[in-house]
Amino acid sequence: MTHHIVEVQDLNYTYPGGVHALQGVSFRIVHGESVGVVGANGAGKSTLLRHLNGYLMPVQGSVRIGDCLVAKPTLRDVRRAVGMVFQDPDDQLFMPTVYEDVAFGPLNLGLPAAEVEARVMQALDTVGAAHLRDRPPHRLSGGEKRAVAIATVLSMAPDLLVLDEPTSNLDPKARRQFIELLRTFRHTKIIATHDLDMILDLCERTIVLHGGRVTADGPTLQIFNDPELLMRSHLEKPLRMQACPVCGKPT
């Protein structure tokens, strides 16, 4: 058993259209870490995350999750270990009711009915959505959808949570609640986002992608305090680290 839960080595990916979305990406993540992945539109964040659960297969290079090298024969184990939360919860919540959606994963794992029930209720309790269990997903608010989307993944008991733009389309209060929820999880987390303030709240480490390459990888504060690096990567300092727009004093 290695200490590393994620190990990406020299990963390259080219879309059928010929776009070189990833060009030699490498990093390692250890148990319990929370890592932010940031970068401009089209930097390759989503493409990178899609490799972590084997939706895309490495054309060149390798991805290792725990002890498994991501490849056809290990897909089942990999997907069980990696909980993916997608940007649009409407894509993730495809079943008729919240309960059935959260039960979808455990049922695919072939668990007995009682165990499924227990897992579903536990996952819903964790995200505070137990009262929504019989509601159809299209009648949930954006924040509720997001919470349920996380529950669908938690019920699989993953070792690693991978989130792609989890706070897009949330109002400030829902966003805050969501961040607090994520903070309570002890899972290893990888979060791709444009919400740098959230990274500041949740991730001690940040990986910067630009043009399919890792341009920086280190402690979050250090990266966000490097204006030249941020500019090169088409990013801006998180608002909270910028000078106060009214009085000009640093906050």
Binding site: F86, F94, P96, E100, P136, V153
Partner: protein
């Protein structure tokens, strides 16, 4: 666009009705599906000149609407809006079939008129049965019932996915139509050309969404089979529901109840 939005509201309305808790709503969905089918088969099996025989069957929608706490006016409104194909075709009957079948004083009633009214009654009965089924059961429960009644799994899963994404896609469509109508100064109506490219765009988005959903399914262990668990319990009350209604339908079909009733009343007063 109003038609899309009102259609969504409509479906949502039926969904909300289905979320109630009444003795009818509590019945097992299979019981309600089977009873509705028995009802419809009974209705259409009447001879086309039979009017009075159909009347006792109104008991079924009336009782379900009352016990199921459904708003009659809302359902009637939906009935009236429903597809007029039956009426358009039925309206030819009075023109084509002029044989006088019934004479009431000086007025002779032709077979065509009688069969036209019969078509109307059938229409009211069968369509209200479908609406009542949905609004006392809910679409997803109907799908579940169908699965348990051995309808192929692929189809019921399709129905559920379709129903789930109607709301998402119709909203997308109505946003696109709104964006178009804000820019379309000259014409209020969409030309086929604009329509095709708008629909093509919508289609591309739909395909992309399907791909993302597929990814979401895969990442939760999807292997081609969608498994459903929702315990259904077909109890005594459900069996009774089906049996009692079916018995009533058979009775109403076998003997003309209004006729008997009229005989009895006239006989007594005579």
């Amino acid at each position: 666009m109003s038609t899309i939005e009102s259609a969504l509201l409509d479906m949502g309305g039926l969904d909300i009705l289905a979320a109630q808790n009444t003795p009818i709503h509590r019945r097992d969905p299979r019981a309600k599906v089977l009873t509705a089918l028995a009802f419809i088969v009974t209705v259409v099996s009447f001879s086309k000149y039979d009017l009075s025989g159909l009347l006792p069957l109104f008991l079924y929608p009336v009782v379900l609407v009352a016990l199921g706490n459904l708003p009659p006016r809302y359902l009637l409104g939906k009935l009236l809006l429903a597809s007029p194909f039956a009426l358009i075709i039925g309206v030819f009957n009075p023109l084509l079939d002029r044989t006088i079948l019934l004479r009431i004083g000086p007025v002779g009633l032709s077979g065509g008129w009688i069969s036209f009214v019969s078509i109307l009654l059938r229409f009211l009965l069968t369509v209200s049965a479908a609406l009542i089924l949905i609004s006392t059961t809910g679409f997803n429960a109907v799908c579940l019932a169908l699965t348990r009644l051995k309808v192929p799994h692929v189809l019921t899963v399709q129905l559920m996915l379709l129903y789930r994404y109607i709301f998402v896609l119709a909203e997308e469509a109505s946003r696109m139509v709104r964006a178009w109508s804000l820019r379309a100064v000259k014409s209020r109506r969409m030309s086929p050309k604009v329509f095709s490219s708008l629909v093509g765009q919508l289609l591309l988005r739909a395909v992309d969404r399907a791909q993302r959903i597929h990814m979401a399914m895969l990442s939760r262990g999807f292997d081609g089979e969608i498994r459903l668990i929702r315990p259904l319990r077909f109890g005594m009350a459900d069996a009774l529901f089906v049996l009692a209604w079916t018995a009533f339908f058979v009775l109403a079909r076998a003997c003309n109840l209004p006729q008997l009733l009229g005989q009895a009343v006239l006989g007594i007063t005579r």
